[in-house]
Structure formats: C-alpha cells, structure tokens
Amino acid sequence: MARYTLQRFVYMIITLFIIATLTFFLMKLLPGSPLQNQEKLTPEQKALILKEYGLDKPVPVQYIQYLGNLLKGDLGVSFQYDNRPVAELISDRIGPSAQLGFQAIVFGTIVGLILGIVAAIRHNHWEDYTATVIAVLGASIPSFVLGGFLQYFIAVKLQWLPVAFWEGFKYTILPTLALSVGVIASIARFMRTEMLEVLSSDYILTARAKGISQAGVIIKHAIRNSLIPVITILGPMTVNLMTGTLVIEKLFAVPGLGEQFVRSIELNDYPVIMGTTLFYSALLILAVFIVDVLYGVVDPRIRLAGGKK
C-alpha cells in the first residue's frame, strides 16, 4: 500500500512540475511585459522596473526563481487589480466557489444515488425509465443552458428566487441546482449499472436464499458493494464541477474564483490567468491522487496491480 501511494505521489509531483514548467515558458513567449504603454520612461527607469519584476536576469535563473516562488505559494502580482498578489486574489475568492461546489456535490450525490438505486430495484418499470430519462437529459443539457433557463423561468418569470448575486442561502439555491444536475446524471447512471450487476450476482442470490428480507438484501449487500466503484467518478466529477463553476458563477454573478477567472481572461490579465490555472490544475491533480489512493484502500486488486510492476 505504501509503495502504491508513493508511486501515485511521484506521478502527481511530476505532473505538477510539468504544468508549472509549461506555464512559465508560455509566459515567456507572450508579447506583453510590465513595460507596455510606458515609452516615456528613461532607460534607467526601465531597468529599475525590470529589476523589480526580476526580468533583468537570464531566463534559466528566472525559471529557478519562479519555481522557488511557487513552492512558497507566490504566484506573482496582477496587472489589473492594482498589483495585488495573485495568491491573495485567489484566497479572497475561493469561499463562494467552495461553498457552491460542496453544496452541489452533497445534493447531487444524494439525489443521484437515490435515482440510481431506485432505477436498479425497479428495473424496466416506469421508475427506471424516468430515472434514465433524467440522467440522459442531465448529461446532455449544458450547464450554461440549464442555468440560463432556471434563471429565466424560476427567477425572472415566476420570481420565486433571486436572479443573481450572493447575499445569503436563498441566493445559492439556483446556482447549486444548475451545478448539481451534471453530478446527479453521472452518479445516477453509474450507480444504476453497478447496482444491476451486483443484484444479479451469486452472493445476492445466497442472501435471498438465506431468507433475508428485500430491504436487508438491498441495504446490507447490494448498496454497499455498488458504492465502491462510484469512488472512481469523483475525479472526473471534480473537473466537471470546476468547469461548471466557471459558467455558473458568471451567469449568477457569484463573486467566486470562476467568475474572476473568466473576467481575467476577458481583461488579458495574464498573471491571474496563469496563477488560477496552476491552482485549478493542482486542485484537480490532488483530487485524482486522493481518489487513486482511496480506491487502492477500498479495492486491494487495484493496488496489487499498480504496485507489482
């Protein structure tokens, strides 16, 4: 187990390092510099500014410095937001995004699991068909379309909930709903397939033969065993949620990280774009790492296959 975890950890570090390197050299390729629109400066002033940003040294030295700064959590300063450090901008904005993501995961997982389980138990009945239709629609309708429709019909037309902004729990309901539909769809689909497979296996037959009630079979034997593979989709789901928050926060004017990211793209604020990109990648890679290790803990076959090599 330790060897497997270590192996995954090394991959994680390598991937992060490659992304950081790519980011750095792309930044070097960009046409912009802090000197833009400042032609009136004297050569001395220019040299001073370059020195302040550490741009007077050769590229390899800059690269080492950049990596060192990354380790300290220093992501540079923004062009647009009054030279504020990118790390500070990110930590200011992470709250609403994390709350939205968390609410969507909790709500989506609960609803998705219920849909999947009911669909599997009532296989080929109307409950199953309904759940399947919901799952297909949920997987097909883009979150930005769904968010727009929710906003138009529930907030603008019916005026049940606020249209946008971030001033309390009521304001989180629509964005959470729009974000969780994708989660519901993927979990329901996965759970249904797993559950159907488990329900047709021999040990379920044995359990039934021993006279355990339907509820007992479902709760004690079927659900618990179907849940294990569901862990694997947590990784891809994190990506989906991340891309989801980008558009949902833009739609509902939520002051989160995604909204700031989209705005900095519109404003060509490169340091913020790169910093947020790195932050997102790190988060994602960490999520994948945790899922891998967790899965190794739950299912011994995985870690044996992974660690043998």
Partner: protein, 340 residues
C-alpha cells in the same frame, strides 16, 4: 392385452437410425447475418437511438443547407432591422407559437417598423439574422465533433495499438506519458494555447489534438494486450506477417466495437466543450458565431429578447442529446453485455 397388440404392430424398421444426411442438418434456413447487420437490427429496435439519428441528420442538413440557401450571411449587419423577434410565414398566424413577430409586450415590431422581410429566428442587436447564425454555429459544433472523432481514430488507435502490442518498456513509457497528459485538464491546455495563438478554432483544435485521444488509446491498449496472445495472431506471425499487418489487419478489426463506442461518446463531449469555451469567451470570436457564443450573447438581453438565448440553447441541447442517444444505442447494439 391391448398394449401388447399395439406393440406387435410396431415394426423394427421404424427404429433404424436416421441416415446421416449431413447436408440437410447443416442447412441454414435464414440468411446469415454479418456482425454489422446484427448490430443494425438491434439498433433499429432502439427508438431513442433512431430518434437521435434522425435528429442528427436533420440538424446536419440544416447546418449545411440553411446558410447557403439564405441570401443573408452570418456577419451581415442591418441596424435598421436590429432586435426583431422571430417571424415565420404560416406559423405567424398561430398565436401561441412565438413566431408571430411580436415582442415580449405583444407589439408587432415588424408592422411598427415597416419591415417586410421575414426573420425566422429574429435578429440580434446588430441586425444579424439569427437563423443563419444559428445554423452557422451548428456547422462549427459539427466540425468539432468530426474532428474529435478523427483524432480519436487516428492518434488514439495508433498510440494504443503500438503501446499494447509491444508491451514491456515501450508500453511503460507510453503509459506514463498518457498519465501526465491526463493530469493536465483539457481546459488548462486550451487556455495555454489561447495565450500563444489567438482564441478561436485553431487553439481548440490544437488542444484537442494533444489531449483528446487518451481515453481511446487506453481502451485500444487494454484490448490489444488481451488479444495479442491469441492463437490466430500466432498463426499469422508464423506465416510471416509483419507487425504493422498484425496490428492493423488482425488486432484492430477485433477491437472495432469498443473503438466505435468510444468515438461515439467523444463526439458529444467535444461539442459540449467547444460550446462551453465559446460561452466563456475562449472559443469562437465575433463576428463568427458558435452556438455557445450565441447563447452568451443572447443571455445579455434575456429579459427583453429571450428568443436570442432560447433558440441557440435549444439547438445545442438537441445536438448533444441526439449524439448521446445514438451513442447509447450503438453501445447497446454492439455490446449486448452492457445492455440494460
């Protein structure tokens, strides 16, 4: 007594073994079905998949024909005709349909401004025809879908095939490369490309070329690893078949089912990704139109001109939905084990 008499009537000749007559026994009464005919029979029974297939055909035809048949182009501006609601001949007389040329307040804008022409899907704030723009955007979505499928087929299969066939150290290195590529989210890749090149179709295409084929490569590798030790591969090798022939003639055709299924699921997700990128302003830039950017534009005036958002939103949802339905159907048809 009766019974014994009956027995005596039975002649021993009746109990002769039947003649071998092999030809008669082996006769096939129905025409035999190839793999594809069998799959098509199963697919045909899947109503949802057929509906999806018909919708894809309709949408594709519209995307090809509509912009060509119209005398307006996707970038023609006519400020005097700006912000017109949809109006379609014949359908305009059915009042509960939103195609009567009236805006949100029930005013007939066409009459008010003296516009004689019909704009079937209305116009945007610059007076561009939404009908042409919507179908032009559908073209872009379809191009992206096709491109993703091609990349899957070309790069994914070759990479996975080579990795699985050679195994050992080659496989180990190739799999590590895939793992690292997978670790970099697609979105991040696109953003990196957009920073070097301009936002637009080229950046999306390049990012897809670099990251889009990894799932396919993994699936093909897994299958090839399983198949390469089969007897028929050994037989072909004994006869002196070169490696390329083994991979492309013997191994790949036997993996064709999973390949098609993976390709079919790649298409809707690629279409979604392009729409999403265009929606947040990273994809197609104006004056060009993509369904994602149209939804984003329409979104800005959702309260006064909801049709600007709703029409492209419905088209993109239908497009992704149809591809998902067909992909589900093909998976069930090609792989009966995975059927519900």
């Amino acid at each position: 007594m009766m019974a014994k008499q009956q027995y005596e009537q039975l002649s021993p000749e009746w109990f002769q073994p039947a003649p071998p007559n092999v030809g008669e026994q082996e006769k096939i009464n129905r025409p035999s079905l190839t793999f594809w005919q069998d799959a098509w029979l199963r697919l045909r029974e899947n109503k949802a998949a057929i509906v999806g297939l018909v919708m894809i055909i309709i949408l594709t035809l519209m995307a090809i024909i509509a912009p060509m048949a119209s005398d307006r182009t996707y970038k023609d501006q006519n400020l005097r005709h700006a912000k017109l609601p949809p109006k379609i001949p014949v359908l305009e007389h059915i009042h509960w349909l939103p195609f009567d040329g009236r805006d949100a307040n029930g005013v007939d804008v066409y009459k008010q401004r003296g516009v004689k022409e019909y704009y079937w899907f209305g116009t945007d704030d610059l007076g561009r025809d939404l009908w042409v723009r919507t179908w032009y955007g559908t073209r872009i979505s379809l191009y992206i879908g096709l491109l993703a499928a091609l990349i899957d087929l070309l790069i994914g299969i070759a990479y996975g095939g080579i990795s699985g066939y050679y195994g050992g150290r080659v496989d180990n290195v190739m799999q590590r490369i895939i793992e690292i590529l997978n670790g970099i989210p697609y979105l991040i890749m696109v953003i990196l490309f957009i920073l070097i090149f301009e936002p637009g179709i080229i950046s999306i295409t390049l990012a897809m070329v670099i990251t889009g084929w990894t799932t396919m490569a993994r699936i093909v590798r897994g299958q090839v690893l399983k198949l390469k030790n089969m007897e028929y591969v050994l037989a072909a090798r004994t006869l002196g078949a070169p490696t390329s022939r083994l991979i492309f003639k013997h191994l790949i055709p036997n993996v064709i089912g999973p390949i098609i299924i993976t390709t079919m699921f790649t298409i809707p997700s690629a279409i979604f990704t392009e729409a999403f990128l265009s929606f947040i302003g990273l994809g197609i830039r104006p004056p060009e139109a993509s369904l994602g950017s149209l939804v984003n534009d329409g979104y800005k005036s959702i309260q006064t001109y909801p049709h600007l958002m709703i029409i492209p939103a419905v088209v993109i949802s239908l497009l992704i939905l149809s591809f998902n339905l067909v992909a589900d159907g093909i998976r069930d048809a090609l792989d009966p084990k995975m059927r519900k």
